[in-house]
Amino acid sequence: MPKELKLPAVEVRQSKGRTLYSFAVDGKLVHRFATISRVSRREGQLHGYQRPEALAHIEEIRNYLESPSPMVPNAVILAFDSRVRFKPAETKPPSKEVYSRPGTIIIPMEEQPDEDKPGFIVDGQQRLAAIRDAAIDSFPICVTAFITDDIGQQAEQFMLVNSTKPLSKALLYELLPQTRAQLPSSLSRRRLPAQLMVRLNQDERSPLKEMIQTATHPTGIIKDNSILKMLEHSLIDGALYEVRKRGNTEDGLEPMMELLRNYWTAVSQVFKEAWGKPPKKSRLMHGAGIISMGLIMDDASALLMETARPPTVQQYAAALQPLEKLCHWTSGTWDFGNGRTRKWNELQNTPKDIDLLARYLTDQYRSLVKDRPQKLRRVAQR
């Protein structure tokens, strides 16, 4: 191994006294010349600025790096001490209008203990750890570097890159449907629900067309999260799971869409008064209402799908009808039994209230509808 690493690089003069270097290097090599400045306190003095590696996060990146054609476009940021040099390709000094010039960056690569290495990782420790651990031979990564002997300057850059605001969840969910690559598990679990949600919000025949509030559709009245939760429940434990399990042809989403369209059209018909109003005026369009009615969708579908699949709007409407007089979406008071009551507009979008309403509605559904299956089956057979 040569004692110096020489890599093609570009020098960029950014502001007075501030010069950056941009180059590519095999990520597997970085730990040989750069280390992480771990934060700790020795005799009262603060040392370093980096936190420990987040192993779960590294694992996610690592899985991605081991997928067929990974890409990591953002550069890691390194701080070098003055042992690292830049040699311009041309000796002629650049003119004023030219802010960058090509050349070679020269990094010492001697075997040395961590604290003597010439580089510090300012940003990208998780990515570099994932590249280090991944079962791949090499992975070139873009580097942006600056040269300084001042640890304060390093800490300052570390704080700047790490105090950005994370993307809003709403925007992530909206972007999700068009992705195909391997995503972090928390996101990939939501991909199918997000695909269904976007179609519910857009399809011409969808009863929820333009009613869901998303990043690009801020005027929607139902929160994206309520719809996603409803869809997730059904995809894991309910009717959508059953539809999906049966396997489908070309368009995997269409059978699920058909079921959703039919059911929510029936909801809009049976609860005409409460449908389409903002959640302030109707609890049906609110998290508790959407999620509870989603569970009823699963119960009703299980019963109806014994004969029809997917059930029609009429069948769903017949199944929902008995619940109509019990619901207080827009006025009055819910009586959940055992002395528990809620005025219609006191129902909150909290796990406790969602649970209360969902239990009540599903229990009522059971006693009013499920226990008279003969009658319902007749409707289904019509």
Partner: protein, 439 residues
């Protein structure tokens, strides 16, 4: 005698890769996971016990079920939810209220109607009447001439309430035409009070009676109660012991009318007990702790503070795993393996030695015996040394499954089980296990 395993949504993920410690990206909890009865091809228990308290969650004790799982359990019924069809032997499901979840309440939070509706919708085979646990135990109350006030009225009221609910339960059970078999619950504070409760329940018409509130009792105290009950028990009355396992005393319990019991302790001990984590041949072994750095809050704090180097911790963790792998292949001695394990222990629990809490002796015994090599169960056959590693739910829970299997087998070997499900393949299995241990 029948053994019921209480459900607490204990499943394992079959996609989990023990070498890489990864699982499938598309795995869906519960749907793709396996229950103990789906892991073993030979019986490990006779049935499941499902508690309303565990399913619904009560107070601060949240539910073990998601909202939509709960719906599915009641929609599809327990036999389908728990995929009993996947077991290669018949299993039954018993429902109870999970009275310990509401033990602090003045009255049970459920009505008899709610409980009946729950059992019916879950399609259980057995349903235990609504009860209220009594935690006081004082045999002095039985002494001749003992004062009435040895036992406070509030405690007596709990027994009364339990009996009244049992009466209502049986009446409504009959009127509602329910299919499950009803069990009455006896609660008490002394041998005589238990016997009185059993007598009352028999009079109502129960011939299968669950004994509640005995979890905290000493074996001797349980025996005294059973002997007292024996005096009033009709020949046709069967007893169920709620939440109690005393493997050494099952023979005696059986003689005293215990027809069934339920217990999670073989499962829990695998990852809750300080020492007894792995059962085999009547012995209990200590599992080898190789905690994940990220799963160990104390170590994690030290790493964050910069007092322990994360690189060092990771290195030791990896070395321990590697050492155990090589040990199982016969390429490391007990001593070599022990050295690495204890070095890691000194890092994550530096005071262990001072507190006389280090695992040197216990690990040595586990490694010397390498019991997993001799076990004939599917878990041990598949996991090899991973079954003995105390690390993460996937390993720990499988070890718990192994313990359940072992306990059940012991029961049958002592002639306590119903039928003899093992006879046919015991020989072949033992031979295979032997071959594995030698090869």
């Amino acid at each position: 005698m029948k053994f019921f395993l209480p459900d607490s949504q204990d499943l394992v993920d079959p996609s989990f890769d023990f070498e890489l410690e990864r699982r499938s990206m598309t795995r869906q909890r519960q749907r793709d996971d396996l229950y103990a009865h789906e892991v073993f091809s030979t019986p490990a228990f006779d049935g499941l016990l499902v508690s309303k308290g565990i399913v619904d969650g009560f107070g601060v004790l949240g539910s073990r079920y998601t909202l939509s799982q709960r719906r599915r359990l009641q929609r599809d019924g327990a036999p389908r939810f728990f995929r009993l069809d996947n077991a290669s032997y018949p299993l039954e499901i018993m429902g109870d209220c999970g009275a310990f979840t509401y033990v602090d309440e003045e009255e049970p939070p459920y009505s008899v109607d709610e409980v009946l509706a729950f059992y019916e919708s879950c399609r259980f085979h057995y349903g235990v009447s609504l009860d209220h646990v009594i935690l006081e135990f004082d045999p002095a109350a039985d002494a001749p001439g003992a004062e009435e006030d040895v036992i406070p009225p509030a405690i007596r009221a709990r027994q009364q309430l339990t009996l009244e609910r049992a009466r209502e339960f049986l009446r409504k059970h009959k009127a509602g035409g329910h299919c499950f078999k009803p069990l009455g619950v006896a609660q008490g504070w002394s041998p005589k009070s238990y016997a009185a409760a059993v007598k009352a329940l028999q009079k109502m018409g129960y011939d299968y009676i669950a004994l509640g509130g005995m979890v905290p009792l000493k074996t001797q105290e349980i025996r005294l109660c059973l002997e007292e009950i024996q005096a009033v028990r009709k020949p046709g009355t069967r007893l169920h012991l709620l939440g109690v396992t005393r493997p050494e005393h099952l023979q005696e319990f059986s003689r005293l009318g215990i027809a069934s019991f339920d217990s999670t302790s073989p499962l829990r001990q695998a990852f809750k007990d300080a020492r007894d984590n792995y059962y085999l041949d009547g012995h209990k072994y200590t599992a080898i702790r190789i905690p994940q750095i990220e799963g160990n809050p104390d170590l994690q704090k030290k790493i964050f503070a910069g007092q322990v180097s994360q690189e060092r911790a990771r290195q030791l963790e990896r070395e321990c795993l590697e050492s155990m792998r090589l040990f199982d292949q016969g390429r490391r001695t007990v001593r070599q393996t022990l050295e690495v394990l204890l070095e890691y222990e000194r890092l994550y629990d530096p005071d262990a030695k001072q507190k006389r809490n280090d695992h040197a002796a216990a690990y040595e015994q586990t490694l010397e015996n390498a019991p997993w090599r001799r076990c004939a169960c599917e878990v041990c056959g598949k996991l090899k040394h991973h079954v003995i590693l105390f690390r993460g739910a996937e390993r720990n829970r499988r070890r718990g499954f192994h313990n359940i299997w072992t306990l059940y087998r012991q029961m049958h070997e002592r002639g306590l089980g119903e039928g003899s499900p093992f006879q046919e393949e015991t020989g072949a299995r033992a031979r295979r296990a032997k071959a594995r241990a030698h090869g």
